[in-house]
Amino acid sequence: MQHPGPSCTHLADLDGEEEKEVMLRTYKKIVTWRLQRVNEAVSLGKRRRVSSPTCGTCGVTLSRPFVCLSCSYTGCWMEGHVYGHLRESGHGFCVDARTGSIFCMECDDFVYDQSFKNVYESLLTNAGEKYTTFRLSRMTREAYKPWIPDYKDTGALDKSVSLPCQGRRGLLNLGQTCYLNSILQSFLANPLLRNYFLSDKHNFKACKNKDCTCCEMDKLFSEIYSGDSKPFGPTSFLSTTWRASSSSGPASSELCAGYAQQDAHEFFISALNQIHATAKGSTKASCICIVHTTFDGSLHSEVRCERCGNVNATSDPMMDISLEIEGKHMGGHGGRGDGEEATLLSCLRRYTHPERLGANDYSCPKCGKNSHASKRLSIHRLPPVLSFQFKRFEHPTSDKSSARKIEKRVRFPSTLNMAEFTTLAQRNSSEGKVNGTSRATYAGPASMYEYDLFSVVCHEGSIDNGHYTCFTRHQDEWYRYDDDKVTHSTLGDCLASQAYMCFYVKRHLDYKPYVLPSYIQAREAEMQKEKERELQKMREMQAMEREVDDELLASI
């Protein structure tokens, strides 16, 4: 993430000087020491006793040392000892070993400097790679290569026009279309979708698909980033959605056609299906289209037969996670009563908690008998963008009038660590219980499981007369979208809202060696063949012309 804070002139003045080089080397040593310590503490299970630095002023052992960048002093922050050291010694800067943040004495504040930031990020990435191995092949991860533009890229960059990197525009309500507007705003704030469409991966002028929702996304992004701030009416998006859903069967046409209030989550799922269907590289299995590379994860389900102990495991793709707000068996599970407030994490814990199936619900494929069984869900592969739905609307019977809305507040955090809900973590904890040890398979650094909230879709009001609004984040600022009205908001307001859907993006995206997608390979092979065919035709034409010429010459 880019920090907009003012840069420190005292550090910038030292650019290119020997003093800064020395400080950068010290900085590198401190950060490496800290990362090594954190990762080895977890990966080695029981940690060996390691000595820690003590405060140069009060002598207390430091769990979070601040280190002077000019000498070997270490000290504590909360008691102000490191501050006192800088003041007395006249040394300029110190670093927080835990976060890598730099404090400048003259600015009397924490400061941002590009060269230190680069060192920190590359050390963090290296540590992430070093402490992760693939479970099956025991291989280490691919080394991260930063993108350095070659002469072709530089040429293309020189020719391109710079646009503002944020676009904010309200969307007009086209007759109870707040469900659509809110979901579209969450798409617009999605960094993966934004990068795809703004880098011209699907150009609506070059696309030949009929009723193409991908083209509608491309047009929407162009409108939002056009620099115009007047509210925009997504009419063509809506009509394409109608046409695309009516052509895919009568059941789904009921879903979106007409001017009725719709469910935002249903629209979200149908929009994803339509974008997937019209995107490049779209396939039935292990699809690499933009929708699947963004939202697709996999859910692991284990059913254990209580008769013979046989475990039946399956993995299914998942595009989002729908969570129950209220437990079915209150007080029964894990002793948590209904007095406890609902949080996203408590909902996830319930979601991944073993569930006992009735005696007649499961027939074991191994012992062939019906028996009680326990079923447990976990997340096998985490997607780059995690989307949650809180099931606020209950339909106990098919009769529409019996539907009710659960108004209960669900607390959700701005950052989320998904480690405990993964299949790996579940296996570790159940193996730990069996063997009586805490020695578990090391699941890699925490940075692999960290997510940041970037959008929330809220539902206000009753089930049949409600209104959808949306919050989205740009860097560290929150904005609220109520159809055509866009207002600057705060993190506090966003987190206090009645969330219906929450969207989180992975803080450190996975990477692998670049492979040319098969559809591009196929297209290039086709173009090559086409060229050869044309060449062949030209040769034939030339040969014919030569024959004609020869004949003409001969006849003279």
Binding site: R47, V50, S52, V60, S63, C107, D108, L345, L495
Partner: protein, 102 residues
Amino acid sequence: MPSRNDPANSALYTQLHRRMVESGEWDRLSTIFSQRLTETGWVDDVHHRSKEIARSAGSEPGKTVRQIMTDVQEYAEGSVPASVRQGLMALIRQYLDSQIDK
């Protein structure tokens, strides 16, 4: 409650503190503590307040991290949920009891 600044306690405190940090117990407890504070919304609440303090102060000359910390410290310490506080105290007590015989 005995103060750690009391000279009679400070030597014991320093020693126990070192033992906790060097055995990794300190890091383990801080991880649990910060997870609980995140789940109960305390971290986001303090983040939100600090940010709004910085915003209302404007950019010229603005507030430094040290000033924001002074402004928010009392509220932050006072708003730690009782259940989290008691849970952590119990864990620390458990650790200390396990250390007494050694």
